[in-house]
């Protein structure tokens, strides 16, 4: 099960592109969208990052920072991001493989890969909105995310 709204995000450690750690502490004080996707360079994941990049000013206007999360090693993720020419920073869940995705309910056990899932985390470290695709090949559109942002807007 994907982490439900209102849930405290568990402690976790992902690897940033520069090799440093990205943990729960990095989520505090700002709004973050973690975009879990199956594989760098796969067709649907390519479409997904390209589509989300198109909305980058709109995400920024709402103070939302996006991160891509997969079980690929950082080198693959960096090559993927650079090939696409997008700015969405990548976080690696490579070793131990998929540990963070499992903790978030965003791992697809039948194929041993990150599922396609979205987790919006508020500045308090609690899940504000989440979405697990019906299947890893099902790409959630941009509108869905902005609907989630609107439905959970503070105040």
């Amino acid at each position: 099960m994907i982490l439900a709204p209102g849930t405290d995000v568990p402690d976790f450690t992902l690897r940033r592109e520069d090799g440093s750690e990205f943990t729960r502490e990095d989520l505090l004080g700002r709004t973050t969208l973690l975009v879990f996707y199956p594989f760098a360079f796969s067709p649907v994941c390519t479409d997904q990052l390209q589509i989300y990049d198109e909305a980058r000013e709109d995400f920024a206007a709402q103070g939302v920072t996006l991160y891509g999360v997969s079980t690929d090693p950082s080198y693959s993720q960096i090559a993927f991001r650079e090939k696409l020419g997008v700015d969405i920073e990548q976080l690696s869940d490579f070793e131990p493989k998929g540990t963070v995705a499992r903790a978030f309910g965003a791992y697809f056990e039948p194929r041993g890969m990150t599922n396609r899932a979205l987790v919006l985390v508020g500045p308090d470290g609690k899940v504000r909105w989440s979405h697990l695709a019906d299947s890893p090949s099902d790409l959630p559109g941009v509108g869905l995310i902005f609907d989630g942002l609107a439905a959970t807007a503070p105040g």
């Binding site: 589509i51 198109e54 909305a55 559109g141 509108g143």
Partner: protein, 166 residues
């Protein structure tokens, strides 16, 4: 709040680029001129006798020429040659740089100087941007995004391929 929240795809409207028989299936085609899959889909829809409305789904991260080509097509539309240019772009996906566009304009008897001005016009830029955003709001996630009866129809391309092969 952002205007990227979900919204239905806008129906046929004045100013749309429309082609095809009046009684053909009406397809809203959100496409990109640097997209080979769009080129094939456009051809299949034409062979299927569909009535096609072309709108832009030109993503900057998808292809470095996508947005420039969308602007170029809108500039050409101001000289009444949208569909001829559309066909010329899709017919030769290997020649999409500016000199190739000027060549196409000359071949179509268009005013190249006017084309150069119009492609940078704010109205042209805004039309393309507006199309892209309405496609995003309507749930488009890839190119081409085909809508029939107001609904995204991701299987249409494949069904047309079957029809052509069958």
């Amino acid at each position: 709040m952002s205007d990227l929240r979900s919204a239905p795809v806008p129906p046929l409207r004045p100013g749309d680029h429309v082609r095809g028989p009046q009684d053909g299936m009406l397809v809203l085609f959100y496409g990109d001129f640097a997209c080979p899959r769009c080129a094939v889909a456009a051809l299949r829809l034409r062979h299927a006798g569909a009535r096609v409305v072309f709108r832009h789904f030109a993503l900057r991260a998808k292809h470095e020429r996508a947005v420039a080509l969308a602007h170029a097509a809108e500039a050409v539309a101001r000289q009444g040659a949208f569909w001829a240019f559309h066909d010329a772009l899709y017919a030769d996906q290997g020649r999409l740089d500016d000199p190739h566009l000027w060549e196409r304009c000359r071949a179509l008897g268009l005013d190249v100087d006017r084309f150069q001005v119009d492609r940078r016009d704010a109205g042209v830029v805004e039309r393309v941007r507006g199309d892209v955003r309405e496609a995003l709001r309507a749930g488009a996630t890839t190119t081409p995004a085909l809508f029939v009866d107001g609904r995204l129809d991701p299987g249409l391309h494949g069904r047309l391929a079957g029809a052509v092969q069958g």
